[in-house]
Symmetry: C2
């Protein structure tokens, strides 16, 4: 059974009036499109408002800054697109999560994700928020996949779990950002079967 | 014995007059500083000329575009900083090359490297030139390290070499671009000993 991965946007201020969820989604979609086109640094609340045909005040009632808007957009998108798998095997869980993550990165969201990741080194506040939300959540799913594998007796005693979690993320992001090779299912299968499972599982 | 890794800048046009190598280095240094500050997209030949206290014509005599200048700068810097190791063992060669590469990325060049990598998704021509020069050369070194290991009988028959080459680069770039964790010797040791050597070597 799949359960939601991401716990929602703790950074989003909750105000007294009821929120219109579909309006919020339209504003996030606009933020995503603007970010894919111009990147994080050049994104303005004005441009997002114009794209969504909304007033700037409407946006500021929901998010107090562009940092809040962008981090909330990432978190919500991840929550909608990535679920925590529980297939009953280490290889099955890794395959399901990483193929969903690969599809997420190489789909329409990919351009915005690339723009965001590319700007992390220049934007310390964005980098810190991105690490606390998106990256921490993604690592959490991978850690829980490994914990369940251990409960089933699948892991070696000395399995380097932290390294497995890091390499899983690294393999996907490197293709997205550097090599440009396809982030497809055959690649995910090779990462799981050749690298991750032998790295941590017993009797390989 | 260490031999140079990178074969120099094939893209740099050679003109009839003799080149002043130290002047070229000063111009490349200026390009690096400007790129670290403003990124590739916002870099102009004017800004590089001003930084190096040179005329714009001086730069254009050496490089026909900012793409040529930036790719040549990357290639020359890599040539000066990264050598191809031959320590006599797979683990030794990987450790020597990856620790030099980690130091290269986390040193003063790191900011410019981050700026460059961050912009690859938005700059197809830059991405293509970067892959043909820098990335191809880095993969070439790793492939030759694996070939020498095979000649010494260190590799498994079915060693997934392409995956090992990809994971080696991915592990370092992921730290540089995403997690912000240190690219230090203990990390390189863990990547070599926990991931790369078990992935391809016999009897692990």
């Amino acid at each position: 059974m799949a359960t939601p991965v991401y716990s929602g946007a703790a950074r989003t201020p909750q105000r007294g009036r009821p929120r219109d969820a579909s309006r919020d989604d339209a504003l996030r979609q606009a933020a995503l499109e603007v970010m894919a086109e111009v990147g994080y640094r050049a994104l303005t609340m004005d441009a997002v408002a114009a794209r969504a045909r909304a007033g700037k005040a409407t946006i500021y009632r929901r998010w107090e800054s562009k940092l809040d808007l962008v981090i909330d957009t990432c978190t919500q998108l991840a929550q909608q697109n990535l679920t925590e798998p529980d297939t009953g095997s280490l290889a099955g869980d890794l395959r399901e999560f990483l193929s969903a993550f690969a599809a997420f990165l190489s789909g329409p969201i990919g351009k915005a994700a690339q723009a965001l990741v590319g700007e992390l080194p220049h934007e310390p506040e964005l980098a810190s928020a991105f690490r606390e939300t998106f990256l921490t959540a993604q690592r959490g799913v991978l850690r829980r996949i490994l914990e369940r594998a251990e409960e089933r007796g699948e892991l070696r005693q000395d399995a380097p779990r932290g390294m497995a979690v890091e390499i899983a993320g690294a393999a996907l992001i490197y293709r997205l950002m550097l090599t440009g090779d396809p982030l497809d299912l055959p690649f995910v299968d090779r990462v799981v079967d050749q690298v991750l499972v032998p790295l941590v599982a017993k009797g390989q």
